[in-house]
Symmetry: none
Subunit: 192 residues, 4 copies
DNA sequence: CACTAAACGAGACGGTACGTCTCGTCTTGTG
DNA sequence: CACAAGACGAGACGTACCGTCTCGTTTAGTG
């Protein structure tokens, strides 16, 4: 016997996520207020608070819909080095897209708010880290013939992705192609 | 003939910077309000607005007083690789200190606010980048016997520092010792 | 079909008017700040600004609730002269009451602020003038047997009320009984 | 042996009084701030505070220079009734002049501030009341042949001047000629 | 096909901080 | 030592959002 009455409106959910996304890209994170999202989505504030705890949760929700593919590791399509370079370029490009800006904003906010940091890590980063280790592990295994242990793999991931995030988060500029290539070659050579 | 009247009070400047620093470490960036800083420093709000445009400027001012030495490159004390590893460890440790937390917060805020991003880059990051290139250039030169060109040097800096910042900013955890060592060896080996 | 959502809280309205009244009597007009009223009424500042434009409007609102009866003309109870004297005494006494102090303060403020002057006249004085002319007209008619024209009536009102207001506003002292009596006799005799 | 060093500058005193006067007429009492007066007079704020306790004192100072003659009782020039009417017209006109506006503002402010009220009464009104009683006393004596006692005289003054002040302070409009004439005739007739 | 009961819009409300304004005091160097 | 210049502590201003709350109204189901 299920309960009576209306169910959560999917159209509202979508309208809110889109409004949040749009506001973030157009006005920035600080100007993306719950009130603004509500107005833009044509929705009452209370309706938002009923389903999300904070704007961070909204943006996380929006991120999940978009970021998974933007940061996904592709199927092998060339040599391991080529595939790795391709992936790093893809990551660098991702931050130019709306979803990448959302992630960038959430990462920024995570530096300022412990709760938001936890939510981001639990809600996105941990899963992404897992996917990165799997994707990178496959490439390394194709390159060297055996899978490195998890700790080693994590370090490799840091060495590869760190410089790209560094350029974006610290200098606000996308990583250039050469940086990805240099990182890929250095790191794969180190596994020989 | 200089102008008459009272001059800017240095003791107020120091009190404000300390209050801001303390509040940031104790309560976090969001809870570090101008009003709170003023109360804590025993100063009128207007006095703060007279000299600083925003709390970001205050924290930048505080950073300048503290971060320069925390991220400075030391004089040669061992082999180039040893010195590089030492420096990377130092950078990793820096983010555990108050000044490092200030930098972390400002980097986070810079993702959310274009103006703050510009202020941070002009006020701190550009100078720090310069110091990093000089310091790293010296080490590379000692290692290889000749100085790499500026573009190459920049890439090396990204590859070395990126992973450390990545761990701090993305995972909120300090880089472990091995990461710095791996980065140092990889990068210096690449210059052979 | 009326609009949805919560309605204006009457209890808040009353709390604000009382707080304003109390503060004015206890601390004076200048010390009666919106902030103080809000605190005293246990209400958010924004709530006050939602419903009133300024403290003058609040006091006008408070005045409306109280001053109407304090300055009302009573039903005939004796000879016209007796009734007129009674009314003038009543007006003189009115300025000793809280509502009278509110009116006094608003009159004072009206000298200093054109907008406040207009608000006071539109919001209270015009109506009171009308009531005064009607009340006085009835007494004169009882006394002489015919109603004077409006212009004449206005002059009589000025001659009767002027001295009382003069004593209050210029000398800060209530008019004594004799002044009212003298005014009443002089003016009524002039209509013979 | 008088003390050494510069004395109070008379030119500053005049500049301040003029600036205050001008500001009051142009901008109103509220906008007439000490800071504004200082700027306009080309004088330092501290210099004003050295010699006056508040803007009320400044305006009182300014009033003394101007109001004495504006409200003075003239020498006999016609019948007592004519002279009284002339004086009442003069009082009504006075409030259209700058000095009259200063007095009006000070009267307004006196309703809002006890200290200011005391200062105004001590600094101006008491003396003016005295002059009014003397002037009116002379007229009454000319009219009836004997001087009324002080209490009676005071009541007559209230009956004569009250209506004029009432129109100005309550309705913000000058008393018309008829009002003065009516008051003069009524009051003088009452002394027969 | 009423009858529920939750979802929803609208928006009032107590708070907190914002950045601005002006006050009256205090400090510093000049004439 | 009077003065200009102006820094300073204090505190109210009016605004923006926050997150909570109370209202009708609308929208499914369930009986």
């Amino acid at each position: 016997m299920s309960r009576t009455g209306p169910r959560r409106s999917e159209s509202i959910r979508v309208a809110v996520l889109n409004a949040a996304d749009d506001l973030l890209v157009e006005q920035g994170f600080a100007a993306t207020t719950i009130e603004g999202i509500a107005t833009r989505a044509g929705v009452a504030k209370q309706t938002i608070y009923r389903w999300w705890k904070s704007k961070v949760e909204i943006l996380l929700d929006a991120l999940e819909d978009d970021a998974l593919e933007g940061l996904a590791w592709a199927e092998p399509a060339g040599t391991p080095v080529e595939d790795l370079v391709t992936h790093l370029h893809r990551v660098a490009d991702f931050f130019q897209e709306p979803a990448g800006q959302v992630l960038q904003a959430l990462l920024g906010n995570a530096q300022l708010d412990q709760d938001a940091a936890v939510a981001l890590r639990e809600g996105f980063l941990r899963g992404q880290r897992e996917r990165d280790l799997v994707g990178l592990g496959a490439i390394v295994e194709r390159h060297t013939g055996k899978a490195p242990d998890r700790e080693h793999l994590g370090r490799l991931a840091d060495l590869l992705l760190g410089p790209i995030y560094y350029r974006v988060l610290v200098f606000g500029a996308p990583a250039d192609k050469e940086l990805g290539e240099a990182a890929a070659h250095l790191v794969l050579r180190s596994t020989d």
